[in-house]
Amino acid sequence: SQTIHQWPATLVQPVGSPLSLECTVEGTSNPNLYWYRQAAGRGLQLLFYSVGIGQISSEVPQNLSASRPQDRQFILSSKKLLLSDSGFYLCAWTPGQGGGTEAFFGQGTRLTVV
């Protein structure tokens, strides 16, 4: 069966420090991968998505970047964190063939920038 792993679960980082959040998917190949941010207002904001290795689409220009070095690995990064980067970050995947399949979410990372 397919599983998605996201870590760490919580993170407290000072302003100006770098960030690296990692997400891996098991049990499937060529998934579509997504990074979302959920702020206190609770809506989900799509940050990046990827339909293949090295293919990254950015939905919102900001202080963050994403990379997909391997088929089932998706990394969210920042060189210098801002206070406004605080939030709950969620990784998700859907099958590469698309269709009516639902998205599968990781457990999330609570990032607090201090």
Partner: protein, 113 residues
């Protein structure tokens, strides 16, 4: 372009009563529609989906939803609410051929004992 609206930030219901969480959508073509539930500090969990066929779809934990094409709605329902149903509920839409699901802002369901 695709979009989803959840008009209620919060829904309050007494345990044992029926519940409805509303969702309307907008797509250019045919939609895939989904409902997810989120518990505090957790990822979203899939509840149910509409792809095609019967307008009434049944999902996990006794939830169901009705697809109404003329009203572009996909309301989530449950005949008898439980306190444990209290959580944040998200409606999502993905247009056929699109890679990207669009989520609503979420509705907080509070079930009172």
């Amino acid at each position: 372009a695709q979009s989803v609206a959840q008009p209620e930030d919060q829904v309050n219901v007494a345990e044992g009563n029926p519940l409805t969480v509303k969702c309307t959508y907008s797509v250019s073509g045919n939609p895939y529609l989904f409902w997810y539930v989120q518990y505090p500090n957790r990822g979203l969990q899939f509840l149910l989906k509409y792809i095609t066929g019967d307008n009434l779809v049944k999902g996990s934990y006794g939830f169901e939803a009705e697809f109404n094409k003329s009203q572009t709605s996909f309301h989530l329902k449950k005949p008898s609410a439980l306190v444990s149903d209290s959580a944040l509920y998200f409606c999502a839409v993905r247009e056929w051929g699109s890679y990207i699901p669009t989520f609503g802002r979420g509705t907080s369901l509070i079930v009172h004992p």
